[in-house]
Symmetry: C2
Subunit: 346 residues, 2 copies
């Protein structure tokens, strides 16, 4: 095993969180909301690697419109903010960060809009992933699956590696029967979008599989400008990139894809039902934020930023009152919230 | 058949309508809300007998706190308002009106918080009931039952009378099986709380079966005072009355109880599910008032006085947003709305 290298947390703030409308809004999207606990998801992402000298100050990648939110939620802690001139999905965002750190340093890439109940387990998995990354593996966290989820991609584990496994196969979102089979086999994990790379290895693989993207990222960094804690990549070079996810652009193409198992109470808080699952619930499965009177209800999430919610006889329903909007959805329907007129025409 | 006598519509405004909270509030309860159509239920009750010279100007019986609402909703039409010094249920309220009109005139007693889709059918039944009342029958409307409702009392029809039937029996709210048997038999109607009496006959039967109540009503009228269109019964005499319903006090005791069949699209709008049924609905059974986006919903009532409602995947649910309160109830749970903290602690 190679010696420990500096690990740079890279926190991605790209998600719009429209399925968490009406609480998540364009001006204050999902990462910057205190959805679980007192801290926002972004603050939790920062806290997870704070106060541990194995991790460097975080590098945050975000759009310009959220710069002030990020500064406020860093609470004065050292960091670097890479301001994306345009949203081009995760591959260019990660490559920007890779281009700005020493090529032999490790980057631990984390979305800012996930919840992780067990930060110590996250850090352990992060160190294991970093060790594999130091050997030039491109490492994905393999999230322990605990239900036949059809909303995520899966990783099929291959041969054992020190602290992890090779990835035998990336699997797109399966149907219910396949998801159940994956769960039963014990050989599959969720692809949670958390990665560790040696910066130089990531850029080399990107150059191999997406040469135009790699060149454009390089140009946008070379022509970029520093402004205090913020780095502004060149807008023209960056905007010209054809966006793609890191999975499609690199992970599914590289011969050195690896995974580390991570059982850490992870949730992407992908919709109101997922948030409901991540919250503490009473004996009937109800969770309340704000003022709510629930009569004969079970498995209900009731959240209000002001008006009282009164509910009778409901089961498996989420009621969200926020800033003049009232959303009522079945848990099963929660995935469709982002397509509502209110969510899509903000 | 006796000659036609003057028919005085007597409109009772006693109901609190807490099961229609949060729209129905103490300060503006159910009768004074435009729940079905443009007119309020009270305005509809007045309109049903307006412009027809077989009916005199209405006599309205209501509490003092609603006097101004009533004046406003009479829109200048002639009427008399009897101001109840206290709420003592329907028997004293009806007796007050009876004591204020000539004893040989007919009174047609109507709650102000019901909806009747077919006013012509109501007037026909009213005239038939008035004819029976002129023969000193105490007449209840027998509402055509179209479902095995367990929330209403039933009337079992007895021998035929001109234009109606004797009442063989009053039945309290039945359980589901009995309600179904009543419906199947074709011999039962709902007791809708609409009555016709000769004023003197009603007072005589009240004196027979509730002498103390009859005497107290008489005293409160004798010591009452006129004030413009308003009549104020003496408060002390009236408040001393032990309240009771006209059914318990008179109808179930008299030997001359009769009924006229009435098939007139009646609903007591007893809760949100009943209102939903009375409203026009789209092909999926949804009804919307105010701004609402319904996705994959069926049999949903969505009403808002401002904030947009967005709903996904719901079935048989009522969503009511009114004046800073948000109510979400299953149709089955709608009966329990009045017991919610919001409704009961106004």
């Amino acid at each position: 095993m190679s010696k420990a290298r500096i690990i740079h947390p890279v926190i991605l703030c790209g998600g719009s969180g429209t399925r968490l409308w009406p609480v998540s809004r364009k001006a204050r999207p999902k990462p910057f909301l205190p959805l679980v606990g007192e801290e926002t998801l972004f603050e939790q992402a920062v806290s997870r690697v704070a106060g541990d000298d194995r991790f460097a100050a975080p590098i945050v990648v975000a759009g310009a419109s959220h710069g002030d939110l990020i500064e406020a939620q860093m609470h004065g802690a050292p960091h670097r903010l890479i301001v994306e001139p345009a949203a081009r999905n995760t591959a260019p965002a990660i490559a920007l960060a890779a281009a700005l750190i020493p090529e032999d340093d490790i980057m631990l890439v984390c979305p800012s809009d996930h919840h992780i109940a067990d930060p110590a387990a996250f850090r352990s998995a992060g160190l294991a992933a970093a060790a594999l990354a130091a050997e030039d593996y491109l490492v994905s966290f393999g999230i322990a699956a605990d239900r036949p989820e059809t909303g995520y991609g899966y990783l099929h584990r291959g041969k054992a590696l020190p602290g992890g496994f090779a990835i035998a196969k990336f699997v797109e979102k399966p149907d219910r029967a396949r998801a159940q089979a994956y769960l039963d086999s014990g050989e599959y994990s969720w692809n949670g979008g958390i990665f560790a790379f040696r910066a130089g290895a990531l850029l080399a693989e990107l150059a191999r599989h997406r040469p135009a993207m790699a060149a454009a990222v390089r140009a946008s960094v070379d022509k970029g400008r520093e402004e205090g804690t913020r780095f502004h990549p060149d807008a023209d070079s960056f905007a010209a990139i054809e966006g793609d996810s890191i999975d499609y652009a690199v992970m599914e193409n590289t011969a050195r894809a690896a995974m580390v198992p991570a059982d850490m109470g992870w949730s992407d808080i992908g919709n109101w039902a997922a948030l409901h699952d991540a919250l503490e619930r009473d004996g009937r499965g109800n969770a309340v934020r704000g003022e709510a009177d629930l009569a004969d209800c079970s498995n209900v999430l009731a959240m209000s930023d002001g008006p009282r919610i009164s509910a009778v006889g409901l089961e498996d329903v989420c009621i969200i009152v926020s800033d003049g909007e009232v959303l009522v959805t079945t848990r099963d329907g929660a995935q469709a919230v982002g397509k509502l007129p209110g969510a899509s025409n903000q």
